[in-house]
Amino acid sequence: MTSSVEILTDPAIAKYREHYVALEAQLPGGEHDWVTSLRDQAMSVALRTGLPTRRIESWKYTDLRPIHRAEFFAVVASEVTGAMLEPYKLDDAFVAVFVDGCYAPVLSRLEDVPKGLEFSSLADALRSGEKGLLEGLGNVVTLETPGFAALNTALMQDGGVCRIADNVSVEKPIQFIFVSTENSSAELHLRNLIVAGVNSKATVMQSFVSLGASSGFSDVVTEAVLGQGANLRHVTHQDQSATAWHIGLIAARVGRDAHFDSFVLSSGARLARNEIRLRLDGEGADCSLNGIAMVRDRQHCDNTTDVDHAISHCHSSQIYKNILDDRAHTVFQGRVHVAPDAQKTDAHQMNRNLLLSRNAQADCKPELIIHADDVKCSHGATVGDLDQEALFYLQSRGIDPETARNMMVHAFAAELLEALPEDSIRPYLENAMSLWLKNLTSAEEAA
């Protein structure tokens, strides 16, 4: 019997070693030592830890091999006009547009940004070398956590940087639109940073959309720091083309009495992962993480959350709903960790799945790790199809079967949509959902 020595270097990461050496000089901020050193350190972690495989618990249900096998090419310049982006822009919002991963000031709408809100593209901020602007960058993510954070930190190219000053309330939402152009098949490493000062209040939305068929790979990391009493609402709308790949991570640190509210509507990409890792590390910190995934064909959507109750008297609530058709696959993994001293923790989690097809698959894994004894924690999951009794009731009132079905699917998601604040984001998401339902009907008619 012979024993072989296992090669520890993950082959998927190996190609990035050369890539990084070739690219390093061109990455923004290369002229500043602190930037280079941040990238170098991250790259060495990435090479040491590799990219996640299904053997790693937190990636058990999401197979990344198709991404590793896929070929990505450099961005080919493609003209994007304001009119093309109009359907994706929120009404009455500050908008920063990124075309194939590059900030496009001409397409953005950032005039009249109020005092106390500072916006910059990540690339500009890195080039300026101003440490102050990027304070917090790399401090919220843990590079060793299995995922793309280390690789992203090494290769980060552009993204949005938002700083909200202490005691400032920004009334209008701030929207980052990441648009992939037709036929683009680029690999993008996008990085955002949101710093919400003491008692500040803001809403940031990220929209990932494709103009036509794109088969690119977006690796997105967003770091958010919430100061004491800050109130940050974050919305992700991931609606990339069904041939694209999307791996997103939001890492947040929520301070004393601060409130972080996240909503993820994910309907795009061949494979998508929307991961949120946050740490409640001031008493009275509170987070609410909600999401809806709508998938069809062979789409795969993974929502993974990790909430760390590091201190007492914090509250977290999570509701994720998945709507699956055809052979689609969803994953919900919700991990809640309650530290030994985190007494009076209040943590709730619910995952509901609506299967519109017998061939769809929903995996759900709640994971509660509780080291304190005076806590309220709960989790739950449901899987079901549409209520036939209700469908019959609607049809008996003259409503055709498609409309009845759409009303019921919409009803499934309504609890979450109706809880959204009454601003321009709610109709935007309602509309995105209606479009998805409309396509559901037309796809069936074509079949």
Binding site: D387, Q388, E389, A390, F392, Y393, L394, Q395, S396, R397, G398, I399, D400, P401, T403, A404, M407, M408, H410, A411, F412, A413, A414, E415
Partner: protein, 252 residues
């Protein structure tokens, strides 16, 4: 209006209706009584086209059309309305949007214009008021948190809005107190017209004091066992189904 001939129907492979014959003329109100398990509700579901209720023989001709060829929503468009014995709660679907979608679907089917939001609101409020129904209920999702009586009033509200030519009331009286019963009956009576008919399915005579039928049929073991005028209901009330040689399983 409606002509049912030799209707046989199965539910989950079990034969429930075994040759029902029934003629309902325009403007007539027919009552169907009968012991539990006699097939009363099955008949109402077959008329509305519910999945799982399979017609194995016989025919139903409604206004000259073969009803069995129509889908559930088409039957509603043609003017058939089933008031459910157990109205369904639908969380997440708002009552108002449900009512409006329903009314406009039926209007479109009948080749009429859709109703405007303003006219719709007026119509719903006026109808709810006539049924002594609190219109605050309509701010809730469909039937969610409604009491038994409120659910039944909601059925009659929908019926009033859709103005069916054949209303089928499936044990609408069950679980109603006397005030609700009167309100429901008033709603049904308000719809009576020479071109509208109703089929009232009930276990007890009580409702028929308020909705006075032209004909009373007794359904037993999947067939019409007896037919008479409104006095038949009173006799049944007094003597029980035993007078027809039938067992009333509910009374037992």
């Amino acid at each position: 209006m409606l002509s049912i001939k030799n209707l046989h129907a199965t539910v989950h492979g079990k034969e429930i209706l075994r040759g029902v014959d029934l003629e309902i003329g325009a403007g007539e109100v027919h009552a169907i009584m009968g012991p539990n398990g006699s097939g009363k509700s099955t008949l109402s579901y077959v008329l509305s086209g519910r999945e799982g209720y399979d017609v194995t023989d016989g025919e139903i001709i409604y206004k000259g059309k073969n009803l069995l060829e129509l889908d559930v929503h088409e039957r509603a468009g043609e003017g058939i309305f089933l008031a459910f014995q157990y109205p369904v709660e639908i969380p997440g679907v708002s009552s108002m949007s449900f009512l409006r979608t329903s009314l406009n679907s039926v209007r479109r089917y009948r080749g009429e214009d859709e109703i405007s939001a303003v006219d719709f609101l007026k119509l719903v409020r006026a109808t709810a008021k006539s049924l002594e129904m609190d219109d605050k209920l309509l701010q809730r999702p469909v039937n969610v948190g409604f009491s038994g009586g409120e659910k039944k009033r909601n059925e009659v509200l929908q019926m009033s809005l859709l103005e069916p030519s054949l209303a089928v009331l499936d044990e609408t009286d069950s679980g109603l107190d006397i005030d609700a019963l009167k309100a429901v009956a008033d709603g049904v009576n308000a719809l009576r017209a020479p071109d509208r008919s109703a089929l009232v399915i009930t276990h007890y005579q009580r409702l028929l004091s308020y909705i006075v039928p032209d004909f009373v049929h007794v359904l037993a073991q999947g067939k019409i066992a007896a037919t008479g005028g409104k006095e038949l209901a009173l006799e049944l009330e007094k003597n029980g189904y035993a007078m027809l040689g039938l067992e009333d399983t509910e009374a037992a």
